[in-house]
Symmetry: C2
């Protein structure tokens, strides 16, 4: 190992005082504690219609999603949901209540999805190919980017129909099998 190496070289071992294996760099001793990541976003409504963004970036470029993204440091999920709507859809939103907390185990990701209402216009941000409003029957179910987008749209609709709100978690038995969930629920 020479001092010219510029790539980290991680090895799994249990650091002193810990009880789980972590990735420790053989070169510099850095312990890369990996933590689950938080995604925040919202279902943005304009009356009966819902705002969706067509992704300009991978993963799932070309597919439709709600404005959502990773929380930055020192940011609340509410602030992140508002920021993401601005960045991805050039949209100012009025944030409502928490709709759902979804866990994507495979990705170690916890998603906090809020309800929101558009206040003003919208346009495609840097990470979107286009942004558009859809009524329920117009939603491009076969071109949705992620399963949790379908969950959120479905849960938002349940709240509208119930006239109230309870935060949802993953639907029973729901995994990343987008196709079967869409077929059962839309």
């Amino acid at each position: 190992m020479s001092s010219n190496d510029t790539e980290p070289d991680f090895q799994l071992r249990v650091p002193e005082g810990d009880d789980r294996e972590r990735a420790v760099c053989r070169q510099c001793g850095f312990v890369a504690y990996e933590n689950p990541k938080i995604v925040a976003g919202s279902v943005v409504r304009v009356g009966e219609k819902i705002l969706l963004c067509r992704r300009a970036i991978e993963p799932r470029r070309g597919f439709w999603t709600i404005p959502a993204g990773y929380l930055e440091l020192n940011e609340s999920p509410e602030e992140a949901a508002v920021r993401e709507a601005r960045e991805e859809a050039c949209a100012d939103i009025r944030l409502g209540g928490l709709l759902s907390v979804y866990t994507i185990h495979r990705l170690s990701q916890v998603q906090l999805i809020y309800r929101s209402v558009l206040s003003g216009g919208f346009a495609a941000g840097d990470e979107s190919l286009e942004v558009a409003l859809f009524s329920w029957s117009e939603i491009p179910w076969n071109d949705i980017a992620f399963p949790s987008v379908v969950w959120a749209l479905t849960h938002d609709r349940e709240v509208v129909e119930a006239g109230g709100i309870m935060p949802f978690a993953n639907p029973d038995g729901a995994t990343a099998d987008l196709k079967s969930f869409v077929e059962r629920n839309t």
Copy 2:
């Protein structure tokens, strides 16, 4: 810089393709993306009484808290809340609904607090000096470990009194000023 260095040597700079400064190790090039951390826990009830743990570890050793801790990888907040009750209070709990989502900006921490009911006994786990049940008037308000514990206890009581549940966020204007919040609300 020699190859015998075993400490990481981080420098703040914007990695290629990114738009924010991140900590990059000068020795190995590792980008330490820092993400907000998720804490999950629950207010554990036995009828009118609430289970609290006296912390055996820093920070706030000797002060009382609800069972809560950092989410591990590939774990849902619900699973973490159950695990923390088992680890800190040797308690099996039946998890109820989500009570609150608190953001501690200063620590880049998002806390998901659930309601729960104790099913069975309890005892001090490794991270607790003691575990005990308290009625509302017995709660040691001046020896609570963290502001968000007071928020959660207060919000849980509001839910009990209202006979229903809505997930709470930080109380209006609430910061880490534990003393004044306790004085106003208990």
